[in-house]
């Protein structure tokens, strides 16, 4: 149990750690390095790694707008660029397939599951951190353990459960199951945020006769908005990314989510399928990347926060 205590302590500290480090950060010892040395030891390796990390996306985007014949005639035209971009694949995707429907399914399921998880996590995190009921620490540790149970060992029994309760092939199945992945993560993240809110604020409200529910809604939640945004974005991304449950629980074409549909519906053996396949992958990634671009800092703090605790 000592470990859990230590883990919880670090959560609060962690929230402020970033700013501490920057405050402490003067020049560092960077000036000791000469420019040629920096180029060799820092810039070149960094550029190489960045190139490898980003190339698949460039390739995805390029293939999505390349005319079909250029995909296979690599010896006539350089494959790394195209001067005749076409929107044929994207057009086909959006107007001649069920893609918009799949995109809508994914968004709908992700939004509902995230919302349910956030409500449950806020209540659970508040109860563990501030109500301090009997066994709160144990429950916190159990929730952390739940985070370590991977979907790959749960999907078979869950499929039988889903089938028995008659939710097979409905979006509701995923909306109810995804929170099992999201709640443990969001609860731990929010526990860290709630701990940084001074208890004195709550004490004042209690003395003034506020109930716990009022305190939670009117005091804690407004102060924990950054944490809520982090938890929301990260959960939303996890839902969007989830594959094995969606693959197992959904069977009809119009119910599928984007990742499952791409793998199952686009693979028709056509040699020219790559254009629409890449357009599909691109269109499925862009909403998340755009969301991410607006909330990079929240995203990073969600990721590092969940791990550091």
């Amino acid at each position: 149990m000592s470990n859990v205590g230590a883990i919880q302590d670090s959560a609060g500290r962690q929230a402020t750690a970033g700013s501490n480090a920057t405050a402490d950060h003067s020049e560092g010892m960077g000036y000791l390095e000469t420019l040629p040395r920096r180029v060799v030891t820092t810039y070149i390796p960094l550029l190489l790694i960045l190139f490898v990390l980003l190339f698949p996306f460039y390739w995805m985007a390029l293939t999505a707008v390349k005319p079909d014949h250029q995909l296979i005639e690599m010896d006539k035209v350089s494959p790394f660029w195209t001067w005749e971009p076409t929107f044929k694949h994207i057009h086909k995707l959006l107007f001649e397939s069920d893609y918009p429907r799949w995109l809508w399914n994914t968004m709908f399921i992700a939004t509902c599951a995230t919302f349910i998880s956030l409500v449950a996590s806020v209540l659970a995190a508040y109860a563990i951190v501030r109500l301090r009921f009997k066994g709160a620490v144990t429950v916190g540790a159990l929730i952390f353990l739940a985070y370590l149970v991977p979907p790959s060992i749960l999907f078979i029994p869950l499929a039988t459960v889903i089938y028995k309760v008659g939710l097979f092939d409905t979006p509701l199945a995923l909306i109810l199951v995804y929170p099992t992945i999201l709640i443990p993560f969001s609860t731990w993240l929010l526990m860290g945020y709630f701990k940084t809110i001074p208890y004195e604020l709550e004490e004042c409200a209690l003395i003034d006769g506020a109930t716990r529910a009022q305190i939670l809604i009117k005091i804690i939640l407004p102060l924990a908005v950054p944490g809520l945004i982090s938890a929301f974005i990260f959960s939303f991304t996890l839902c969007w990314n989830e594959f094995i449950y969606a693959l197992t629980f959904l069977s009809s074409t119009q119910n599928k989510t984007v990742p499952v549909a791409i793998v199952n519906e686009f693979v028709d053996g056509d040699i020219y399928r790559w254009g629409s396949l890449m357009a599909g992958a691109l269109a499925g990634s862009l909403p998340l990347v755009i969301l991410y671009a607006f909330f990079v800092e929240h995203y990073v703090s969600a990721m590092t926060g969940a791990v550091k605790e």
């Binding site: 149990m1 000592s2 470990n3 480090a21 402490d24 560092g28 010892m29 960077g30 820092t42 490898v52 990390l53 698949p56 996306f57 390739w59 995805m60 995909l71 296979i72 996590s121 209540l123 659970a124 109860a127 501030r130 109500l131 301090r132 009921f133 709160a136 429950v139 991977p150 790959s152 060992i153 749960l154 078979i156 869950l158 499929a159 039988t160 459960v161 929170p179 099992t180 208890y199 991304t237 990314n241 594959f243 094995i244 693959l247 197992t248 990742p259 791409i262 793998v263 890449m278 599909g280 499925g284 990634s285 998340l288 991410y292 671009a293 990079v296 995203y299 990073v300 990721m303 791990v307």
Partner: protein
């Protein structure tokens, strides 16, 4: 602070002794806590704890899709014990996990150290690094599928232009090529997560430690070995536990790239259990494969836990 929380309700009761039992109950942290925990615990028990137990039970039955099974003891496990494909999948899973996790750790740590230096456009570079982690695995796996195409692979094409090879590489069609290709795709996807979390850890290390060490004549390697590494150990242990767990139970990358082929060469335990349980309909057998993953997972968690405890004890933490 913790004490004052516990005392609050008690103090209120003494002030107003005329409160009814119901009011007392309403203010009791245990009662409130129970209701606040209800939604989270309800979902977790119903869709996580119960299926976990049910999975173990299913592995001792001969349940098929559409047909309830009966208890058959260890038959599924005996069957698997003699199944060469199962052992191939165990071997693949261990290879995949070990090689990919080691590579992710080394490259991730290296990238974190690079990003921790003074760089122009640092925030933008960090944001770009994370993109592979944001994009859904299946979608980036599809991009890799195209990059690994047997005929039109851009890698084969580039290497041929450079004159390094004269035949296209059959990335996903050859047994060992397929294994390395999937491992590479996994490393590609996992490095950003490890790099960014370790970077967050590195930023908490005070630069004055490095300055002091440099004044004392420490080499860069010594600075890394005796300052960075010890201070980073706890976060490394946590990050790597997550990484190992998720790599070990990976499903989507393999399913999108190879579906376990060629000739089962890339089947992981998760993909094999899906194939046996859902596609072939042998739920019991599939559940046995999933259940066989649990000891490995427990071992990974145990090692990480042990590592954390030892480190804490060495650093003078209490050892209750």
């Amino acid at each position: 602070m913790a004490n004052s929380v516990a005392e609050m309700p008690a103090r209120q009761t003494s002030f107003r002794s005329e409160r009814t039992a119901w009011q007392k109950l309403k203010a009791s942290p245990n009662w409130l806590g129970f209701w606040y925990m209800m939604p989270a615990m309800g979902i977790l028990i119903l869709f996580l704890a119960y299926p976990l137990g049910l999975g173990v039970w299913l592995s001792f039955t001969d349940t098929k899709i559409g047909r309830a099974g009966v208890f058959i003891g260890l038959e599924n496990y005996i069957w698997l014990w003699e199944d060469r494909v199962f052992w191939t999948s165990v071997f693949n899973t261990l290879l995949y996990t070990t090689v990919a996790s080691a590579a992710k750790f080394v490259i991730g740590l290296y990238l974190a150290l690079l990003l921790n230096k003074h760089l122009p456009f640092k925030a933008m570079i960090r944001a770009l690094v994370l993109i592979p982690f944001i994009v859904p695995t299946v979608l980036s796996a599809i991009a890799f599928w195209w990059i690994y195409d047997a005929q039109f692979s851009i890698i084969s094409w580039s290497l041929r232009q450079l004159g390094w090879i004269d035949h296209n590489i059959n990335f996903l069609g050859d047994v060992w090529n397929a294994r390395w290709s999937t491992i590479f795709a996994n490393v590609w996807r996992g490095v950003p997560f490890i790099a960014i979390t370790l970077l967050a850890g590195l930023q908490t290390v005070s630069p004055s430690l490095y300055e002091a060490a440099t004044l004392d004549g420490a080499t860069p390697w010594q600075r890394f070995r005796h300052i960075t590494y010890p201070l980073l150990t706890p976060i490394i242990a946590v990050v790597m536990t997550f990484s190992v767990l998720f790599t070990f139970t990976d499903f989507q990358l393999i399913w999108a790239l190879t579906r376990g082929g060629p000739v089962n060469a890339t089947h992981l335990m998760a993909t094999l259990s899906y194939q046996r349980a859902i596609i072939a309909g042998q739920l019991g057998e599939g559940a046995a494969i999933s259940t066989a993953m649990i000891p490995f997972l427990l071992a990974a968690i145990g090692i990480a836990w042990y590592g954390l405890q030892t480190r804490k004890w060495q650093q003078g933490g209490s050892n209750e």
